[in-house]
């Protein structure tokens, strides 16, 4: 097994930029991140750690999920009024 080849391919992937379209109640915003960024890092970077994030199929994105290609994510927070 050639570990250098594997590591180099992983490095190449993380150097590639992908576009994440964040859809919220305010509309859509595009953000460019490196492929291989975790959802946790993405949330921390954009101050969304308290928000729920799902993909276009409604699947909940967890902190350990990895952004590897262009995708659309939906974000919200609970609504509490009174």
């Amino acid at each position: 097994m050639n570990f250098d080849e594997i590591n180099n391919s992983l490095n190449a992937q993380s150097a590639r930029e992908i576009e994440v379209t964040v859809v919220t109640l305010g509309g859509s915003e595009k953000r460019a991140v490196n492929a291989g960024t975790t959802i946790r890092d993405f949330k921390e970077r954009y101050g969304l750690t308290d928000n729920r994030m799902v993909d276009s199929e409604g699947r909940l994105l967890t902190d350990s999920d990895i952004l590897s290609s262009d995708m659309q994510v939906f974000v919200s927070t609970p609504k509490r009024n009174g």
Partner: protein, 287 residues
């Protein structure tokens, strides 16, 4: 100083590069001019709002509204042209919707309309339409969830009073002048609106199953399940649902099992220091 703090061991770890939190959107929003200073509520939207807030009786209700450019009396303005609600739990002094309900709502909208349904509204039954602390807090959370894009927020009551703000940033909110298009709709349209709203309320609004009783000394150590009660830690706090054993009943922070006195009373160490319990009485602030 709590005993557990003396026994805390801190291990230094290798310094890691610091990752910044993006705040360019915060800076761009700061001191931004309000995008909406005047809002006209169309007759259809007003009939729907009136239907929703009356269909839930003495409970609060919440939803979103569609805002579009319109010409009123020859003048260009912004108008609320439609109103909708989301899956929610209605209460007499609060209304709550989970984040997945809001995401479900966003996903139900046609893609080209997602930036139009920006109005955040809720009702105050018969109380004043001034925003409460809960409202300001939630609008702040909503601002972050909208990637710091300003949005209009409105409160309405059964007396037809309306208060609306343009939430620009955490530091800046401006009042919106609200006008209501007083145009009587024909009976068939009114009946259609009524039936549509009634169906949605029956499908989407859930009422909390609550019972009230005064806490006694025995209740200090026994979590109440499926009840709502005025806790005596704060004069205006109300909690619903099942108590979570691992969460402070005042601030929601994780409990520390090493501090048994605080843990038994479902308080985090800080809140245990701050409050002590008055048996059957009001909250007593240790300060």
């Amino acid at each position: 100083m709590h005993w557990y703090k003396d026994k805390t061991i801190t291990e230094a770890s290798k310094p890691q590069p610091f990752k910044v939190t993006e705040c360019l959107s915060v800076l761009k929003a700061m001191w931004d001019k309000p995008k909406i200073t005047e809002l006209v509520i169309s007759s259809t939207a007003w009939y729907k709002l009136t239907a929703y807030i009356n269909l839930v009786g003495d409970y609060e209700i919440t939803g979103f509204g569609k805002i579009e450019e319109a010409t009123v009396d020859g003048k260009k303005t912004m108008a609320v042209t439609d109103i909708d609600i989301i899956d929610q739990e209605v209460k007499s002094a609060f209304v709550e919707a989970e984040d997945d309900a809001i995401i479900k709502f966003i996903q139900s909208l046609p893609e080209d309309q997602r930036d139009k349904w920006t109005l955040d509204w809720h009702s105050h039954v018969s109380m004043s339409t001034s925003p409460s602390g809960t409202d300001w807090d939630n609008w702040s959370d909503m601002l972050k969830a909208r990637m710091n894009k300003q949005f209009p927020a409105m409160i309405i009551n059964k007396q037809g009073e309306v208060t609306a703000y343009q939430i620009i940033s955490d530091l800046d909110q401006t009042k919106i002048k609200v006008l209501i298009e007083k145009n009587k709709l024909d009976e068939d349209t009114i009946i259609n609106i009524y039936n549509e709203c009634k169906t949605k309320v029956e499908k989407m609004c859930k009422k909390a199953d609550v019972s009230y009783r005064k806490l006694t000394e025995d209740d200090i150590y026994k979590p109440l399940e499926n009840t709502v009660s005025n806790t005596w830690f704060s004069n205006d706090s109300m909690r619903t649902g099942v108590y979570d054993d691992d969460v402070c009943s005042v601030c929601g922070a994780a409990l520390d099992k090493r501090d048994s006195r605080a843990y038994e009373q479902e308080l985090c160490p800080e809140c245990y220091d701050r409050y002590f319990l008055g048996i059957g009485g009001d909250a007593v602030d240790a300060d």
